[in-house]
Amino acid sequence: MRWTRALPIWTIAFAIIYVPTMYFNLPVFTYVPQMHAWHWLFYGPPKAEGPGMFYYGWVVTSAIGAAIAAFLATLLPDATTRRIWSGFTWLMPLCAVCVLIYILRPWFLQ
């Protein structure tokens, strides 16, 4: 399989992985801006250290997961990956956005 065929797979996989990564809070690392400190995986800082930032970690978790999925896809025969509908590259991100809006709705209902 040509490596370019792995690109749409990466997009699809990232969109699928990102939502549970964010929802279940599974960052590769946590940044605590007030302390300028980085911690591996999830770190719940004590109140004195200020808020923790998980967003960077979520993106990296999803990127690594998507890279693994894309790599595994390159091992499949060309005919198999060609059968994957190209529309999933926009449909999966769209579905992810809809779920994210649902998850975030408490912010807008307060």
Partner: protein, 150 residues
């Protein structure tokens, strides 16, 4: 930090211009530039792809550098004001930027000459990216007006 914020905004303006040109060109391509609007749409979308990807990545990276200031500054200020809708709007913005980031490889792939058969996918990815960029720009601008980063 204000200088970074201004550069971030200027790059976002360039990105919004490029992605809007390309989106309109993809939705309603114009062969003959008979009017201003037709000229706006009569662009070769292929020529915008790399520029849009680079602008997106650089703008997002600058946003990531500025983000901690927002997290321990403007956001806490808005939470104290119980302005949760604005906080939620920014939460959505950060997730949309991540989703836009994940769309970039497929977007690049869909605009390659070898993928001429995937016009609908190409159009949908371009429009999706355009909507994300517009949302992020407007929300960033509105929130900066609430309390600028200093």
């Amino acid at each position: 930090m204000p200088a970074l914020l201004i550069v971030h905004m200027l790059l976002a303006v360039a990105l919004i211009g490029a992605v809007t040109h390309q989106s309109l060109g993809a939705i309603a391509p114009a062969d003959r530039p008979a009017s201003f609007f037709a000229r706006y749409r009569a662009v070769k979308g292929e020529g915008y792809v790399n520029a849009i990807i680079v602008l997106y990545l650089v703008t997002a990276t600058l946003g990531l550098i500025i983000y901690p200031n927002y997290r321990i500054g403007a956001r806490l200020f808005m939470e104290q004001l119980h302005d949760f809708k604005r906080v939620g709007s920014f939460e959505l913005k950060e997730h949309l930027i991540a989703i836009g980031f994940c769309m970039l490889p497929a977007y690049w792939w869909a605009w390659q000459p070898a993928q001429k058969d995937y016009a609908q996918t190409r159009r949908a990815l371009t429009i999706g990216l355009g909507l994300i960029v517009w949302y992020a720009f407007l929300i960033g601008h509105i929130l900066n007006n609430t309390q600028g980063i200093s």
